[in-house]
């Protein structure tokens, strides 16, 4: 690798630009790939395979070639609605799992900096809060308040913006009622069915850290299937 390329890579990392390092392991040549930008001419013939790997966020050797690709993609945005006890544990788990968390809670006494140091907490109702967040099909929503006034608008936003993961805390009964409300609001069966409710994989635990673990485990599972 050329020293100059290494310096360019470090700069891109600092800026948190999304890119990939492409290396031809047969001849030692390497370059930077960025989406929708032209690529070094020595790698042009692999462009479609490289783009494909990049979109899948995959590292590795492109099949039947000597081209190695290492992707740098930003963390996945996870929005938690409800600055509750479970959220405190979710924040801890998420730190080491490359998820970037934002918390929405209009209730000031929950969303304090003391309970969530070094974290972006948006102390507004979901409709207002989502105006401050850039979200898309790479975002995830975890709704924890089980209060329809707070959770429902967030769930509606997530469904409309096609979040890849939507989970909502609450018992089977709470979830049935929630589904009915979303149906009345005009969402399709398939959309409603895509919500993970009751949230989390079945671990058997009941404590706040255990529920947080079951939620984060489900989020990781769905993220890898994406």
């Amino acid at each position: 690798m050329k020293k100059k390329l290494l310096e360019q890579i470090i700069k891109k990392k600092e800026n948190k630009d999304e890119f990939a390092i492409i290396t031809n392991i047969a001849n030692g040549e390497s370059c930077i790939f960025e989406k929708n930008k032209s690529i070094d001419k020595n790698f042009e013939k692999y462009l479609s395979e490289i783009s494909n790997h990049f979109n899948k966020k995959k590292n590795g050797i492109i099949e039947n070639t000597d081209i190695f690709i290492e992707t740098y993609v930003r963390p996945i945005k996870v929005i938690i609605v409800g600055a509750v006890h479970i959220a405190q544990y979710l924040v801890d788990y998420a730190k080491s799992l490359n998820f970037e968390i934002s918390i929405i809670d209009p209730r000031g006494y929950f969303a304090t900096e003391q309970r969530f140091p070094d974290l972006k907490i948006i102390n507004k109702w979901p409709e207002e809060a989502f105006k401050e967040l850039e979200t898309n099909e790479n975002s995830a929503l975890i709704a924890l308040t089980h209060d329809p006034k707070i959770d429902d608008p967030a769930l509606q936003h997530a469904l409309k913006n096609k979040f890849y993961y939507i989970g909502a805390l609450g018992s089977k009964k709470t979830h049935e009622n929630r589904c009915q409300r979303l149906k009345d609001a005009g969402f399709s069966e398939a959309e409603i069915y895509s919500i993970h409710g009751p949230i989390g994989i079945k671990l058997g635990g009941k404590s706040a850290p255990e529920i947080a673990l079951s939620i984060i485990a489900q989020l990781v599972e769905v993220t890898y299937k994406k």
Binding site: M1, I9, I25, V73, R74, L97
Partner: protein, 109 residues
């Protein structure tokens, strides 16, 4: 999920270069079976055999250091090396986990 942005091994390589050291970058490019570190894991080695980062759980690092020092000495720009399952009763380098990995070595110049 790997957060490549937070790993600082390339930055460290750059610091070593600024200190006029010769640096080889070793990257896991392929794995088969169970392997301790995933594809993209890195370590750096200088001409004195100092190293930082890892490509396995400590199983093959010593061999990687030797190979890296070798390519600096021979002034070879790059090399691919593979490690296979080890024989537990022998003092040889290998992966006790039963996996196989390919590591790509390249000099930064």
């Amino acid at each position: 999920m790997k957060n490549s942005f937070d790993e600082k091994i390339l930055e460290e390589a750059n610091d070593w270069l600024k200190a006029n050291q010769k640096v080889v970058l070793a990257t896991v490019i392929q794995t088969w079976g169970s392997s301790p570190r995933q594809v993209g894991s890195r370590m750096i080695v200088n001409e004195n055999g100092d190293f930082s980062g890892s490509v396995s759980g400590g199983c093959v690092e010593s061999a990687v250091v030797r190979e890296c020092m070798g390519i600096i000495k021979e002034n070879k720009p790059h090399k691919k090396i593979e490690f296979k399952v080890s024989n537990e009763s022998a003092w040889e380098v290998g992966l006790a986990c039963g996996g196989e990995i390919a590591v790509y070595l390249e000099q930064i110049n």
